[in-house]
Subunit: 251 residues, 2 copies
DNA sequence: TGAGCTTTGTGTCATTTTAACACTATCCAA
DNA sequence: TTGGATAGTGTTAAAATGACACAAAGCTCA
């Protein structure tokens, strides 16, 4: 039987976990990083889940989120922002979830509250490598979605909303786009996050007024249409604006 | 010695707590509801703390917050909104805090992460009644502040910020003001929350355009100056706007 | 009783921001 | 060379913002 361990030092805390919602952009649409839990014998629940696991007692929540993300997917050095805590007593007790937990946890029946984190990365820079209990780790398009394990669909929704809000008070894009990018790509990114079309000319005017873009005197090559100018974020101004924020970027 | 209890059913969870940041408005300034932990013998740390305690394993976080608030301060039926989780491993291990925890917890050394909640109430409607381990519960002005127990000052800051943000995307005031109130009172409320002066005329113009106020054809009485018109929130429109929100209420 | 104190309540104007809208330029491919 | 695809650009009308000052109304107290 499972006994509680004394919760000091570097022991896993059986009651608190972290989950990571990692968004990636492939220059067309948003994707999310999920792990595959593999075949679940009896009740056939969803196989996909957010990367997440119990915390250790000697690490803080932010550290735990980074560690867990790395352990399950190999991704490193990602800035994670807290979304909030999820603590329904039954959140992990669906039949298919319990079965899986039995295979990976010392106290599979323990009540676990989880703290969710969100981040944005440039997909091409991060190739997931599954390990630990993740059978696989990969990017999945955010649209056309199936159900996730536990309450992870709910967490994903909360993360999406957080992201939308964030967009209104901070510049976003630095982590999601390659170093050189086109305004159309940035435009698509904003449309993906806000999940609504934005007028092209108005978008360009507004984003330019933020004064965080440098127009490299360089053009796309090899595209079967008029080539676009390439831009770069002015890192200094971008960081400055990230710190101070703006009251609203009213789209 | 303290043994871990099996974490099922209605047992306290030694690793997760909730803390409540309750703001009240006295028509002049913001106040916050705190409990007094009483005399602490040895190390003389702060006596004041946010009302908070461990959760039970069979309740969700929102329920736990409501219950704990009621148990410690007597306040009931308050809508609480989550601020976030705070989980530094040492957040409750200052000397004065440990000493106090020994007197009220079965596992005073356990690692505890806490989930913070925030709410707004009309002070006059809620008279705190301390009980449980709260020696006293009362309102304290938000300005001119001393340190709080644990990491509660940090939590308070986060709650204040949450409140400021909220103000920009939702109407606020319904819970904080008496049924009939003046525009000046609402004005002071907004200034208190945003912690900056707002132009009187511009404020009035803007708030009126929201279309959530009914001008009662009634005036203040007995004030030693020109009496103000009294207003009421149009509950229907207020709720509607609370649901849908607005993109920005740019002050 | 009227003079003084205090707070209410109100409008304008210049500037900025917003939303809506369509056509030409450039490159590649066939 | 033509057709297909995307890039890039400006105007206008309407709305929102921020700055700003003075008369009206009630109370108090000398």
């Amino acid at each position: 039987m499972h006994q509680n361990l004394k919760k000091i030092g570097a022991e896993l805390n059986p009651n608190v976990s972290v989950d990571c919602v990692i968004f990636g952009f492939d220059l067309e649409k948003l994707n999310i990083l999920l792990i595959d839990r593999g075949e679940i014998s009896a009740a056939s629940g969803p196989r996909l889940a957010l990367p997440g696991n119990l915390i250790y007692n000697n690490e803080n929540l932010d550290q735990a989120a980074s560690r867990v993300l790395t352990e399950l997917t190999g991704l490193q050095d990602i800035y994670l922002e807290q979304v909030g805590a999820f603590g329904d007593p039954d959140r992990i007790h669906k039949e298919s979830d319990r079965e899986w937990l039995k295979s990976i946890r010392a106290e599979p029946e323990a009540r676990v509250i989880t703290v969710a984190y969100v981040s944005l990365v440039q997909m091409s820079g991060y190739v997931p490598q599954a390990s630990s209990f993740a059978k696989n780790a990969d990017w999945f398009p955010l649209d056309a979605f199936t159900e996730l394990a536990f309450d992870h669909s709910e967490i994903l929704d909360a993360a999406k909303n957080k992201l939308k809000q964030q967009l209104k008070i901070q510049p976003i894009g630095f982590n999601l786009l390659p170093e050189k990018f086109t305004l159309s790509q940035l435009h698509r990114l904003y449309e993906s996050i806000l999940d609504k079309p934005l007028d092209k000319r108005n978008f360009r005017r507004k984003i330019q007024k933020l004064n965080i873009l440098s127009n490299l005197k360089e053009k796309q090559r090899g595209v079967p249409h008029k080539p676009s100018s390439l831009y770069q974020f002015n890192e200094e101004k971008y960081q400055e604006l990230t710190q101070t924020g703006f009251d609203n970027f009213g789209f």
